[in-house]
Symmetry: C2
DNA sequence: GTCTATAGTCGGATAGAC
DNA sequence: GTCTATCCGACTATAGAC
């Protein structure tokens, strides 16, 4: 079963950087050190392999988001900020699972868009729920103003992350970190009590 | 010369919605009402056609951004908001030239990434310059606080648009408009004097 | 400029020996 | 499970008649 895991990993990285059409079974096989026909002993088709990767990525993302809240922040502002920072750091490092997530959330492979999006959007929804809860706490604690509704604050926070996601694909580490810093400053001034 | 323009337009829409690999010369020819071999009387290759589309898109984008500032806003806040709104409206309508711009800024076709990005990023830079000038004016006029640096305010504004760009590819019109509204509220509270 | 026909390549997937 | 060999389809691009 070790081979199958390796196929999954190499497939994930290639899909993330080259896209679905750009990744051929031959390229995956080369990386694993097999002939492409041997891949079919583990996966019945390229689509099935892709869906298996997607399933893993979706699960990992929810786990990642939840883990970003298990930090040492004292106030809710700090907790939110540290979670945000964890995202910035991962994106700035061009973590390939994040790249996979961003790429196929926006551009799922033609032919099985719905199967792909179902998995990714479900995990996205869970992640947003986690964010919203944290913001709700901050609002109750009086750290976030009542002038801005919970819904508005939450959407603005997602927007922050989506902006970073977009920039990830075409900026380098230091620029992303600078932008993250600036966006956070304005965001926090916009929601703080 | 009418045929060549039609090829350009149909190519743009197909590239925008199906991507580079997803768009075959046959599909373009079908839309124009030709055999694919006839396309080669106008463009020597698929790549050359793509680059011609990209050149047009890059020029149009700068023009679009500048035109969003020629609005009826009285205060600089209103001017900035109306420009932002114009972006939201175009994105919410899934304008195909905007989709082309977003898609290939993030995922340029493999093999000639640099040629593509050179054109797109140059226009991006011009657009950002235009935004920055407008924000500078607002800061001088006292509409935007001095607590936030010009650089931070400008980056946060780009971030707003980048967030919307990201969401464009997977939300519908009404959701994008709602998110735009929320993001603007928080942004403005974050920068206003 | 547009057509038909075709060359040449590369992709996913299967058959069958080991 | 992995290999070699092969099929089949889709694609870009060219040749040559009209």
């Amino acid at each position: 079963m070790h081979t199958k895991e390796k196929i999954l990993m190499e497939g994930m990285e290639l899909f993330a950087t080259l896209g679905y059409n750009g990744t051929s079974m031959t390229k995956i096989a080369d990386r694993v050190g097999l002939q492409k026909s041997s891949l079919y002993a583990h996966y019945s088709s390229k689509e099935e392999l892709f869906m298996d990767v997607t399933t893993k990525i979706a699960a990992d993302y929810v786990y990642f988001v939840k883990s970003t809240f298990e930090n040492d922040g004292q106030t809710t502002e700090e907790k939110l900020y540290l979670s945000f920072q964890a995202h910035v750091k991962d994106m700035a490092n061009h973590d390939s699972s994040i790249e996979f997530y961003n790429r196929f959330s926006s551009y799922p492979p033609k032919g099985f868009e719905s199967r792909t999006l179902e998995l990714l959007r479900d995990s996205e929804e869970q992640a947003r729920k986690a964010f919203k809860e944290e913001i709700k706490k901050a609002q109750k604690a009086g750290d976030i103003t009542d002038e801005v509704s919970l819904e508005d604050a939450a959407r603005a926070f997602y927007g922050l992350l989506d902006g970073l996601s977009y920039e990830t694909s075409y900026y380098d580490m230091d620029i992303i970190e600078n932008h993250g810093e600036s966006m956070w400053k304005v965001f926090w001034r916009g929601v703080k009590a």
